[in-house]
């Protein structure tokens, strides 16, 4: 079905069961309601990381996803607060806006390769932060706070999306929303990678000259991929703003951009679901090390270096080492 093997379908089934039924049951039983927020964050960060992974897939190191997450968060916030839009409409628009910005920025910078491209993307987050501080519409350092919760949407009287403000348990609602968007994101990513566009990306990643000799329009595909990548960034950022009900110039920083990239490295650049696992492990890993106080960063970095040294293909390579499956 849908090009999946039965083993993969079982895996996907278990995964969906765990996130949509297992997790809520466990949280209910243990009363650890704070976990919803944690897991929602992981899901949203995983969406943005999926975008970064995609830029890796065309052989570009992207350390600028924080910029696009920030753009998405602001666009959604402005549309909801200042223009009175429904959050649900602002969400895809935020993603599209980030994608358009990516196209404009990508045109000049995507020609660069390796460390040169990486360096420029590293600056992007800071540029967007400074822009948000300077522009009147983003309210400078005060940011945009008091963003209302997502309102409902109904079509012909049938409610399609619920009104979050009228809910008792918005944490659960946000968790489900984030998980659904994450599942859709990764499903799209999986299809893309296993379709013709994905194969062309792979050819470019391995040899741009040879790719253009067989007629691949490498400049065009680079832009398309960077736009999709940033769309995911904008989407994740917009959801974050809505949950936090506020956006500040510091909502996404250079460190976040670096983390998005690390999530991909850690999970494995060869595996579509790598960034999801990477995000989960990094997020919880950091939290678990909280007890070490001032040594937290030292221990965290050391472990990361060791993992990347001994598992250069990421955590998923442990399981897939022999199967070579994607």
């Amino acid at each position: 079905m849908l090009g999946f093997t039965s083993k993969q379908l079982v895996g996907v089934g278990i995964f969906l069961f765990v996130i949509f039924i297992g997790v809520p049951l466990i949280i209910n039983a243990t009363g650890r309601w704070d976990f919803y927020f944690t897991l929602t964050s992981v899901a949203l960060l995983a969406i943005a990381s999926a975008g970064v992974w995609l830029t890796f897939y065309i052989g570009r190191i992207n350390i600028g996803q924080g910029a696009f997450a920030l753009i998405g968060a602001y666009v959604s916030a402005i549309l909801v607060v200042k223009a009175g839009w429904s959050f649900w409409i602002s969400l895809p628009v935020a993603g599209l806006f980030a994608a358009v910005v990516a196209i404009l920025i990508g045109l000049p910078i995507l020609r660069l390769r390796g460390v040169y491209f990486a360096m420029i993307t590293l600056v992007l987050t800071q540029v967007v932060t400074l822009t948000a501080l300077a522009l009147p519409i983003t309210n400078g350092a005060k940011g945009i706070s008091n963003i209302p919760l997502p309102s409902g949407i109904s079509l012909l009287g049938i409610p399609i999306l619920p009104d979050f403000a009228g809910m008792e348990n918005t944490k659960l609602a946000f968790y489900f929303t984030a998980c659904i968007i994450m599942v859709l994101t990764y499903a799209a990513l999986y299809r893309l990678v296993n379709s013709r566009l994905g194969h062309l990306c792979r050819s470019m990643q391995q040899n741009e000259e040879l790719a253009s000799s067989i007629g691949v329009n490498i400049a065009y595909i680079r832009i398309v991929i960077f736009a999709i990548s940033s769309f995911f960034g904008g989407l994740g950022g917009a959801m974050f703003g809505s949950i936090a009900q506020s956006v500040y110039p510091s909502s996404f920083q250079v460190a976040d951009s670096v983390n998005f990239m690390l999530n991909c490295f850690l999970g494995g650049l060869g595996y579509v679901f790598g960034p999801m696992l990477g995000t989960l492990v990094l997020y919880f890993g950091w939290d678990l090390l909280f007890e070490f106080g001032k040594y937290q960063m030292l221990i965290y970095s050391t472990i990361l270096i060791i993992i990347i040294r001994f598992l250069p293909n990421g955590l998923l390579s442990i399981r897939f080492d022999k199967g070579g499956d994607k």
């Binding site: 849908l2 090009g3 799209a188 299809r191 893309l192 379709s195 013709r196 566009l197 194969h199 062309l200 792979r202 050819s203 391995q206 040899n207 000259e209 040879l210 253009s212 000799s213 067989i214 007629g215 691949v216 329009n217 490498i218 400049a219």
Partner: protein, 260 residues
């Protein structure tokens, strides 16, 4: 009949160095034309300009009445003029078959969106690509290594893979830059036969750069000789072998190599 491809007064300067100086010649349809010359004569540079991998400094390349120089390489490839590379140039972590499948993407009937959603046309495309890949690899005698990862192949097979990838795009003109490099005598003779059948059976016009003189004399209909960026001779293998200028400027010192 007008020629399929015309090189017209093509010049390439790298700073003060003139790699190609006002080169002109025609290529007829279904011809095997070799470009020879000592190291650094400007052969690869000429091929790069024909395939638009680098712009000309002046002059132009005309293909089927249309200028193809100073465009983008993928556009020229789409028109049917495809080059292979002198250096080993492959998709390292793809198998031979995957490489040949991906190289057929220009023949796709379904849109990228169609592939994303898995449309019927897209599935038919993939089936057709795989079938053609198997045929092509069979034709090239590469069926046995079709599932090998490219990075694991020996030098001779790498050259063949480069040609397979080029052929998979369904070119009208195939530019081969040193296709026999790194091959022993038997492999070379085998490849000569293959290149000839590419022309005979698939109607592909072939241009090639080679240093292996016996192979060049054997395979070529005509030969263009470059030296220090200048065209010094053009003609059939026997004309070239007896051309004073060629012998003097280039072949004189390597009599044995050319087998005269």
């Amino acid at each position: 009949m007008s020629p399929l491809l015309q090189v017209k007064n093509v010049t390439k300067k790298y700073g003060g160095l003139t790699a190609n100086n006002a080169i002109s010649f025609d290529v007829a349809e279904n011809e095997i034309l070799s470009v020879i010359g000592p190291n650094g004569a400007g052969k690869s540079t000429l091929f790069k300009m024909i395939a638009s991998f680098t712009p000309t400094t002046s002059g132009e390349v005309i293909y089927q009445g249309e200028r193809i120089s100073n465009l983008k390489p993928h556009i020229v490839a789409r028109k049917g003029v495809v080059r292979t590379f002198q250096e080993t140039t492959i998709f390292k972590s793809m198998t031979v078959r995957e490489s040949v499948v991906v190289a057929q993407h220009l023949r796709a009937k379904a849109s990228l969106a169609g592939y994303f959603w898995g449309s019927k046309t897209a599935k038919d495309d993939v089936t057709a690509f795989e079938k053609y890949a198997d045929e092509l690899l069979e034709f090239l005698g590469m069926s046995e290594i079709s599932n090998e990862q490219a990075s694991n192949l020996p030098q001779g097979s790498l050259r063949a893979l480069g040609i397979a990838i080029g052929l998979a795009t369904d070119p009208k003109v195939l530019l081969l830059d040193e296709p026999f490099a790194g091959m022993n005598h038997d492999e070379t003779m085998n490849m000569v036969k293959l290149v000839r059948s590419v022309r005979d059976e698939r109607g592909v016009t072939v241009m090639l750069v080679e240093h292996d003189m016996p192979a060049v004399m054997n395979i070529s209909d005509r030969i263009v000789v470059l030296n220090f960026g200048e065209k010094i001779a053009e003609g059939t293998p026997s004309e070239i072998q007896s051309n004073e200028k060629v012998i003097e400027a280039y072949l004189g010192s390597v009599d044995d190599e050319i087998g005269m």
